[in-house]
Amino acid sequence: MFKRIRGLFSNDLSIDLGTANTLIYVREEGIVLDEPSVVAIRVHNGQKTIEAVGTDAKRMLGRTPGNITAIRPLKDGVIADFQVTEKMLQHFISKVHKNSFIRPSPRVLICVPCKSTQVERRAIRESALSAGSREVRLIEEPMAAAIGAGLQVEEATGSMVVDIGGGTTEIAIISLNGVVYSDSVRVGGDRFDEAIVSHVRRKYGSLIGDSTAERIKQEIGCAYAGSELREIDVRGRNLAEGIPRSFVLNSDEILEALQEPLASIIQSVKRALEQAPPELAADIAESGIVLTGGGALLRDIDRLLAEETGLPVLVAEDPLTCVARGGGKALEIMDRHNIDLLSTD
């Protein structure tokens, strides 16, 4: 009852609850929040309090004193810490509502990995409800990504979308508002970072943090040989000497480091193409594969997939926000047609 009244003062939200970043799309306003999915918790006399959420908390990652822990409550696209996720959602929801007098109670659509289990989905739903949402709907991420990228999902034409997120890579073949085939591999931006960290440790005997690995990936990371050679100056702790050392990394080394996670993605894409019904496979061969998510920004990943599959591969416009924007559009479609076609439940 109170939730309904509070709902009158709330906006409908589409939340891309990602492993790396959380994005919130508000109808008629667009993306209003794009912050890292990180929460910093302070422990004082056995009591846990939230120190910072989002960008502020991310800055603390790996730099916290003993009584503060900066954690990422989501892992591989699903909730790893229920209570912290709830607090984080609560913080983000109240942040996107300017009215601070009445506690918001919005309708929320959350994107979930297509291969997430019922338990994981329930955890996300419960977490959003506890964070103050009055109604929670779930949508599979690749469907939201396809809608956000602008694919005509309602047509009787096959479209293939590969959403490379922070924790997972979602692959789906979509036709007539439905997912014909979907797959989810637990390989994403985080695995790229881990691969870079282990490569640096192996080759240079130095330890670098996740944030540094992410910076290396963004600045010189590439997925296909033959691209322009780039270099970056990195500082890390030398494991043998125990003191910080500086060294130079080039893009070829990073390409070598990324081979394993990239091979997993290629394999999944090929598997999806093998499983696609022939008519839809023909449509995909003609129009191409659409890449979304932060991973699509990795240099030449489109070229790598094109060479491996022999199909045109396109990077969607603004791939980072595709899922959140698509969720918002899906919410509008559901309201307009009074259908729950796109929802997973």
Binding site: G150, E286, G288, A306, P312, V315, E317
Partner: protein, 278 residues
């Protein structure tokens, strides 16, 4: 210089001005890179026809904006171009095209709209004529059935009468509601016709509000309205009449001068009955 002027270029050796469309830019860059269409198609894994469509700015053959922009980006990237600038040019081109098509729209409509409109109108006309014929046949059929052999002239006269009766029965009912001007000629006409056609008279008197719906033997509604206390309703038509009374206790009914017993439904007081010959 404006943005559009920047995007125009004089073709060397001619006075022609060629617009810097995305296709023109891509083609020039491809030729500068000494690549053939086939080579580009091979590198991008596109169909060669798609490369041609992009270079000729024939975007209608591609599947929507997301793919067009994706293809342009991929092509631009291959040729080492600034892909954002290429997409901006594409936006300018589509806006310009839309503006032109908006200007041309009335002309296009006037020249292309008429030929398909004719068959459409013809179709509609044919439909109306067919509907009239069917209606005429439907009205004629019962008249033929009732007409006596050798009385063709009378049948011909009666054809419009059948239609009139339906109208009159309602007009007559309305006439009882003190529309005096129309009552006299209509009732006079009815009395003239009574001798010619076997008609039945159903009269209802009301002592309270009641919904009345009466259908004739052809199951056509000849009356459907609310009646109030003191109203009298006289309906002529062919029996049997199917009568629906919303509140039967306030109604007394006569069929051809004989009183009709209304066995009303005791729970809702409504009544459904068939009056007259079967």
């Amino acid at each position: 210089m404006t943005e559009q002027e920047n995007l125009l270029e004089i073709v060397p050796g001619t006075d022609m001005v060629e617009a810097e469309t995305p296709g023109v830019i891509l083609r020039r860059a491809r030729l500068a890179a000494k690549l053939s269409e086939a080579q580009v198609a091979e590198r991008l894994k596109f169909l060669p026809s798609r490369i041609r469509a992009l270079e000729q700015d024939q975007y209608h053959s591609l599947k929507g904006d997301v793919f067009i922009k994706g293809y342009l980006r991929a092509y631009g990237k291959l040729l080492g171009m600034d892909t954002d600038a290429l997409i901006d040019t594409y936006h300018w081109f589509t806006r310009a095209n839309e503006a032109v098509s908006d200007l041309l729209e009335p002309v296009v409509n006037s020249s292309r709209g008429l030929p398909p409109a004719r068959p459409h109108l013809l179709g509609k006309g044919m439909g109306v004529v067919l509907a009239l014929i069917v209606l005429l046949l439907w009205f004629m059929a019962p008249a033929d059935r009732e007409a006596k052999p050798g009385n063709d002239a009378l049948v011909e006269q009666n054809q419009p009468v059948e239609i009139d009766i339906r109208d009159r029965s309602i007009i007559e009912a309305l006439g009882n509601e003190s529309q005096g001007n129309n009552t006299e000629p209509v009732t006079a006409e009815v009395s003239e016709l009574e001798g010619d056609i076997s008609e039945d008279l159903l009269s209802l008197n009301f002592s309270g509000d009641c919904w009345v719906e009466v259908r004739d033997s052809d199951n056509v509604i000849i009356f459907a309205d609310m009646r109030h206390a003191g109203d009298k309703l006289q309906l002529t038509g062919r029996a049997p009449f199917k009568v629906l009374l919303g509140y039967a206790p306030v109604v007394s009914m006569n069929y051809n001068g004989e009183s009709v017993d209304i066995n009303s439904n005791t729970r809702t007081h409504s009544a459904r009955l068939v009056v007259g010959r079967s």
